[in-house]
Subunit: 245 residues, 2 copies
Amino acid sequence: MTYCVGMQLDAGLIFMSDTRTNAGVDNISTFRKMFCWQIPGERVITILTAGNLATTQSVISQLEERGKHPSERRPSILKAPSMFQIANIVGETLRDTISRGAMAGAQAESRFDATMILGGQILGMPPRLFLIYPEGNFIEASPDTPFFQSGETKYGRPILVRAYEPGMSFAEAAKLLLVSFDSTLKANLSVGLPFDLQIVPAGECRVGYETRIETNDPYFTEISKGWSEALKQAFKSLPPYVLPG
Amino acid sequence: MTYCVGMQLDAGLIFMSDTRTNAGVDNISTFRKMFCWQIPGERVITILTAGNLATTQSVISQLEERGKHPSERRPSILKAPSMFQIANIVGETLRDTISRGAMAGAQAESRFDATMILGGQILGMPPRLFLIYPEGNFIEASPDTPFFQSGETKYGRPILVRAYEPGMSFAEAAKLLLVSFDSTLKANLSVGLPFDLQIVPAGECRVGYETRIETNDPYFTEISKGWSEALKQAFKSLPPYVLPG
């Protein structure tokens, strides 16, 4: 499985993804699920992938036109006039890739589904964030639904729903994402460190900050321990249920 | 969907279940999912059901021998010598019921699966807690895995994992269950109030306390608001992520 979140803030976009892929519990690997293309100052495009790894790698390769010689590659997502067009291109590539795999469906044990979170900004237009379904269609984030999760979404959702605020800083949002990822990690083996974190400040049309949070990252360790403790304290602070008699 | 939890404490057993059933989002009903049989002082047996409602109602009816005239009913679960035997009886009844339904599988849109949490105590033996699968087999709670969830389990799991302690009082455990149910309720439409709560003190072989927490229950409202606030405070108490530059 996987856990990815893309989030829209007043300050811009922030993305986080884990790196664990598994086929069963005894075939675990680390693969990057965050992919980024940019013409700094003109456009920045980030994709987070969840689902069948062969599908998502194939989609990314097609978007990068890896079938061509490096000197001849002109990825269409770098020429599309709007983020909406880019979402269309990614959605179509995803749908076509899945349907090719599905033709062998009777022989394959697993489905070839994949979901993608796409975010970015093109100069002169606001930052945009999309969730792209295996069918190739997509929805866009809005003030009512300002973030998208994919993969193993449930464990980490309660804190996102409660603590998200559009005006929060990137530093606060990174903390929120790490708490949400920590909850998921604690409950589910199929989500694992390291995590990739990326920040895209609104208006800059470039990646502002990018890092990989490794297994022994001291800040994550502090957040993880601190959150456990803070949760226990929060729980203790509530009044107990009053049993009669 | 459904959310049920059965939990083993040093003090005994505590159970909570929601009451929402749905077939799609526009066909929502309220059904009790907590069932109890007792010969006070000799044995107490509680079952929490999750899954296909026709299956679970059929299993409960068979366990109560509703096919017979009331005066002739001698439910075998009230005669079985051990909780393990009772788990066997419930498991077999569940498996047989599902396989009857599955024969019409090609015509039916949904599966007939169901899962049951079974707990109780028979005089002279310790309280025991089981999770019974649709296949009729089951696992038993132990100090390492002292509680079972069924249905929509993921949202409410992180707080259970962190705050559970075997030595907690029933009042603390009821609070913990309500917080876990609140997290689930906030995130998932298919889990809904009212909730049924039951407490079985160790050694008494009877239901010690039972209540239904209704939609406007003032304690639940307080917990729900308080937990949102406490979570936000807990989140704020953590140090922010430090961005370079």
